[in-house]
Every structure is written in C-alpha cells, then in structure tokens.
Symmetry: C2
Subunit: 230 residues, 2 copies
C-alpha cells in the first residue's frame, strides 16, 4: 500500500494549487521532506472515521469517496477529486477523523503531518486564509447539499448530482462513473430501484443518455430546469 518512494518534489508538483502555493520556499521544502507519497487501489481505505487524525490527506490524482458511517446507514458526504484536501475538519478541534475515505479508482495522495500542517497555518497567515477559503467552499457546497436533500424530490436530486459531476468532478458533459448503481443511489439519497427508474425517465426525455456507467448529458438546459423545479 504505502510506498516510501517520492516520484517528484513538492517544488515541481503541478498540482500545487489550493493553499500550498502560499508556502514559503523553506516551508515547501519542509513539507516535501516529511510528506509520504502513497498510492491506493480501488476500494482501499485512506482514512477511517473515529481514528486519530495524524495527517492531512492531499489527493493528487484519482477519485475518493468521503463518507460517514452511522449505524448501518452510510452517508456519502462528498466525492473528492484531484487537487483537494481531506481531513481539514480535524484541524483544531479533536484530532479525530470525522469521516472515512475510500478510493474509487487508482489514487495518488500525499500525507502531510497534522502538526506540520498546523505549524504552517500558525507561521503563515496567507496559507491559513487559503485553508479557510477552502473550508468555506466546502461549507457552501454542504449547504447546497442540505437544500437539495431536504427540499427536492428525486428528479431534482438526481439532476443536481449529474450537474455536480459534470461541472465539479469531470468537467465535461460526458463522463464514465467509477461506481455502481448502489453508490449512485446513495449519493442521491434514493433506492437503487428509484435510481433505475429516474435514469430511464431522463433517458426517455432525451435529457441524458446512459450506457452502463457511461453518462452523456444531452440537454443541460432542461437538466437545470429539472434541478430548479425540485
């Protein structure tokens, strides 16, 4: 699982986009020095809810499911793609992971020690504000999620999910989902059967075309209208 080989240095990392670009040269070197580069295969656990959060996980490549495990029922909080951080919510409170994370596909991540990460924030206010910005973006997304979940019916929720995939994860009207119908139905908070039915309906209405796990959005305007109407 873990490989103690470093393919590239932080200095040359093209993914250094969120907050890391605010690090000083010295800090970046420090990050590079202590970080662990790890590759996960599909289905492997990146972090487990309830364990000690000793590090921040930087997802460089791949797709990760972040989810809460609650008595029998799991809630998928987010699908995280390359260029994002996992574990920020454990930063200054109890240093416990509040969720689990699992690789959907081949994932390349960097593990950064929590204490070092904290130190960066305390030393470097620009870095800190970038972290806050990142947290806030996630919060706003959570709010949209709560809205979608609590106010919208199945068509609206599924439309929201498709739009989210298309705009935030795959950045294309066509994409191949790396997960099963069960996962998809969990994400949209519905039963697998209801998912099947809504896919068929959207298909019949020429909003999307679905073949297995491949999705193509044919009519984004209409999809947005469905999302708006709930």
């Amino acid at each position: 699982m873990a490989q103690r080989i470093k393919t590239i240095s932080c200095r040359d990392c093209t993914q250094r986009d969120i907050c890391f670009r605010y690090l000083s040269r010295a800090q970046l070197m420090k990050a590079d020095e202590q970080r662990l580069e790890v590759i996960y295969r599909p289905g492997e656990i990146l972090c487990k809810q309830g364990t000690f959060a000793s590090h921040i996980i930087y997802v460089r490549k791949g797709l990760v499911k972040v989810y809460i495990e609650g008595r029998g029922k799991n809630l998928i909080l987010a699908v995280v793609s390359g260029g994002n951080l996992i574990g920020l919510t454990s930063l200054f409170g109890d240093a416990i992971f509040h969720y689990s994370a699992m690789a959907y596909d081949h994932c390349e991540v960097c593990l950064i020690d929590m204490q070092v990460f904290k130190k960066f924030i305390l030393e470097n206010a620009s870095f800190g504000s970038a972290v806050i910005k990142n947290l806030n973006e996630n919060t706003v997304r959570s709010y949209e999620r709560i809205f979608s979940m609590s106010k919208k019916k199945i068509p609206g929720r599924f439309a929201d999910l498709l739009i989210y995939f298309s705009e935030n994860i795959f950045r294309s009207p066509s994409f191949a989902l790396p997960f099963s119908r069960k996962e998809l139905s969990d994400l949209a908070s519905m039963s697998v059967e209801s998912l099947s039915r809504i896919i068929r309906t959207f298909n019949d209405d020429d909003i999307i075309s679905v073949k297995g796990r491949k999705v193509h959005i044919k009519n984004m305007e209409l999809l947005r209208k469905v999302s708006d109407n709930g």
Copy 2:
C-alpha cells in the same frame, strides 16, 4: 435599528469566548473602536443573502435564524444563539453573504468590519486557528444535518431537532420555543400537519409534553432511541 451607543467595551465583554480571547490587547482595542453595537427586534433582518458582506456579525444575545432563500422554498441552515459568529463563510472567497439571518427575539449583536477581521487573522495565527476551529464545528454540525435530513424519517428528524435544542441552544430539558409551527416544521423538513401529528405521537408516548410553544422532554433515553432508529 442601529444604535451608535456602546454599552460596554470589548475588554469587559463577558461573551468574549470564541476566538476573540486570542486577540492581543491592541487588537481588542481596535475591534472595540470600530465595531458597531446593534439591537434587533424580532423579525428584523441582520443580513441578507446576496448582499455585500462588509462585516462579521457577532451575536452577543438572542436567537437568530440563518437561512437560505431559494426559489420559493427557504431552508433554515441553523438557529444561532448568543456567543456565535455569522458571516464567516464569506471570509476569503467572494465577500457576499451566502445566507440571510433574521432575529427570532430581542437580539444584541456587534458588527465587526470584514477587513479588520481579516487583518486579525493575518496578524494573529492563534486567532486564525480559533476561527478555523469554529468553522469546523459548524461543518461537522452540517454533516450531522445532512445525515438526519437524508437518512431519517419524520420521527428521527424531529427527535434530532429536539435533542439539538435541548443540548445546544437552551441547555435544558424544558424550553420555550420562540417560533411558530411553520418555522419548526421548516427546521425539521416536514409539513406543518406532519409536525402536528408527530408532536401528538410523542406526547401520547410520553416522550415529551408540549403546551403551545413550551416543550418539556420527559424521556430523553427514548428520544435518543427514536433518533438512532431513524
């Protein structure tokens, strides 16, 4: 609405508990100097979604509804009580309020200029980390909310709401809600009629006793069980 009278100075404020205690003496003086002390009456708007977020709102006293306005349907994000901040999500992204806030009852708040607040974060890393901690607590609460909304049925959702009030807002098994059935039903994401019915059921099962807006939790154990079972 706004009164340019300062009743006390920040230095003597007993509510100075979240992040403000990390401010240096000079910073606290600066905060005191530029802040506005405002009193809101029930129903008055503290901030309006979509407007420029020129300040952070510190709720010193009272109860505030934070909500998102979306095409016809409003979503209540949180009920905020004394000692909390509103507007943090607008800190380092677009400086626009992502939600509206309304006073439920008599509220005393302080308005702190956004630029000054940002400056505190950049100057004072302890203050910044306290802000991050506060953000994270809100995020974790949002996650619990998403779970409740998307995985639980009406009894579970109502139980969650009662537990939240009892533990986080009123800190007592007995409390007088400052809002109508309509507001309550919005909070628990159900119709007013369903709310009426679930109140009656809980009453009949001796879990709670409700008279008008006064609530008394008679059997917390059972309430928790209902929450757990969804």
